[in-house]
């Protein structure tokens, strides 16, 4: 579960925007867990399934695929894979590309 080596940051994260390259964390806003798809037919869901889409999150202690927005740069959204203990970011990619 917690396999990545701990690396202590004393300064902010360096995030590589797929379009602009490596930039300081303060240029970005965080957009939560990635790959949560809005159900195609919400009317067909029961309350539990709808709640699962709206509220439930995987919140892993380890690698986490998430969305970021380069708010003070190109203003585009992208996905990143970040370790939630070491905060290491191992890759970033555009929203419409496959993760692997």
């Amino acid at each position: 579960m917690n396999t990545a080596p701990l690396r202590w940051h004393i300064d902010m994260l360096m995030i590589t925007c797929p379009w602009c390259g490596p930039r300081d964390e303060s240029e970005f806003t965080y957009g939560g867990e990635a790959n949560i798809e809005r159900p195609a037919d919400p009317e067909a869901l029961d309350d539990a399934a709808w709640a699962d889409y709206l509220f439930m999150r995987s919140n892993p202690k380890g690698w986490h695929q998430e969305q970021w927005n380069h708010a003070h740069g190109c203003r585009r959204w992208f996905k990143a894979e970040r370790h939630t203990v070491s905060y290491e970011i191992r890759r970033t990619w555009p929203m419409d590309e496959e993760s692997s």
């Binding site: 300064d11 309350d47 699962d52 439930m56 999150r57 919140n59 892993p60 203990v85 070491s86």
Partner: protein, 416 residues
């Protein structure tokens, strides 16, 4: 339990203070308990204490993966208040505040609860409307509070910058006089000692690694010190609620974020109340040692690394300096991050779960410390009876299905 009193202090002074016993036993886990509480923070220990005291259930173990007072109980800014907006929250936090008021006597341990009042500042007209609404709601719920204007804030905190031309001028505040601060370590130690004296086993260095279930019923917990069976299991953790839920096979509407705080070098007494600002995310009080205890909002991203991000620190320190120019040359001594589990509506989850006999008391976000006694009180009731207390009924996991959320983003005072 040896009583702590002036007479005992004098008696032990004769013996050179060599006769004091440890405040709680070093318990070894038995193979089976009636109730297991996962998490030996303030909330878990309070739960164990009230289980034993109020409900007479003493066959209880508290499992703590580290040591007592080593987690978030020791990583917060110790503010206690109950000025929440909605009826459900007001009942919960006010119950807690009432317990705080008699806590030192009840557990025979000085938790240094100091009712020095809390100010929540307003910086624009909408803030002031919200404050007025919240104070009105508080008064209807029997929670003390009043609305102060700029001059009223200045009277309480003479050195606050009330210049009208700062970026976020101080237009007024809500003021809850019964709110205050407490000594966080003492809360954990005091509850541990009190629970231990009623027969509760407090087991440190015992991390839960799995939750055994059979036919949808909880059977035992797997730990680093062996498998321990139990009729009921109460999970009272912070920072790892999602990890524990995964062990039990369900998901929670919770995300974990770092929340940071820092402490300055000690000063002569200067600030005799607590000042919080919702809009610019800084809150400050002065400890009995004279240090300023300063906190802010959570980091935006999920994280379990117990440290905060640099720009969040910069943000709340710049807010601090604008509100209190007098602190501009202050040096900071310590800085730390705790992991808080935040729910979408900034309210806790104190609930039964899809697993029979397994109960969760998690998701306290940035405001768990103040709720320690009340949380323990209602969760003890839930564990003893298998049913929620009327106070925690609105805080069920079910509310995310029904949509009956308890939206306390306004009164949580810290950005979630």
């Amino acid at each position: 339990m040896q009583n702590y009193s002036i007479f005992n202090l004098a008696r032990h002074a004769m013996g050179g203070h060599r006769g004091w016993k440890p405040a709680w036993r070093e318990a070894t886990p038995k193979s089976r308990y009636k109730v297991i509480i996962v998490g030996g923070g303030g909330h878990g220990l309070a739960t164990a204490y009230y289980l034993a005291k109020v409900h007479g259930i003493r066959d209880v173990a508290v499992l703590e993966k580290g040591w007592i007072g080593g987690g978030n109980t020791a990583r917060n800014t110790t503010i206690v208040r109950s000025n929440y907006l909605w009826d459900a929250s007001a009942a919960l936090y006010e119950k807690s505040l009432k317990l705080w008021e008699g806590l030192s006597q009840d557990i025979n341990y000085n938790v240094m609860f100091s009712q020095r009042g809390v100010l929540n500042l307003g910086h624009n007209l909408q803030d002031m409307r919200d404050i007025r609404r919240r104070v009105n709601a508080n008064q209807l719920n029997g929670v003390d509070g009043e609305v102060l204007d700029t001059a009223g804030v200045k009277r309480l905190v003479p050195f606050i910058n009330t210049s009208p031309d700062i970026r976020y001028p101080v237009l007024g505040a809500s003021w809850q006089p019964r709110a205050g601060i407490a000594r966080h370590d003492a809360v954990a130690w005091g509850y541990a000692r009190a629970a231990d004296s009623l027969g509760v086993d407090i087991i440190e260095n015992c991390e839960v690694t799995g939750i055994r279930r059979e036919d949808g019923q909880v059977r035992a917990v797997e730990t680093t010190r062996g498998v321990i069976e139990a009729d009921r299991v109460g999970v009272v953790v912070s920072g790892h609620a999602g990890v524990l839920a995964e062990m039990a096979g369900f998901r929670l509407p919770i995300e974990s974020h770092p929340l940071q705080a820092l402490v300055s070098e000690p000063l002569k007494p200067i600030l005799d109340t607590v000042v919080m600002s919702n809009a610019i995310h800084v809150y400050v009080s002065q400890s009995d040692k004279g240090e300023l205890v300063i906190g802010a909002g959570v980091d935006s991203y999920n994280g379990y690394g117990q440290r905060g991000s640099f720009q969040t620190m910069e943000h709340f320190l710049s807010a601090l300096i604008e509100l209190y120019p007098i602190f501009s040359r202050l040096r900071m001594l310590r800085h730390w991050g705790g992991i808080v589990d935040t729910a979408p509506d900034a309210s806790p989850i104190i609930s039964n779960t899809p697993v029979e006999g397994l109960f969760f008391n998690v998701g306290w976000g940035t405001g768990g410390f103040k709720a320690t006694p009340g949380s323990g009180w209602v969760f003890a009731h839930t564990l003893a009876t298998g049913m929620p207390h009327e106070i925690n009924a609105p805080f069920s996991l079910e509310r995310f299905h029904s949509g009956a959320l308890v939206d306390e983003h306004g009164a949580a005072a810290v950005a979630h």
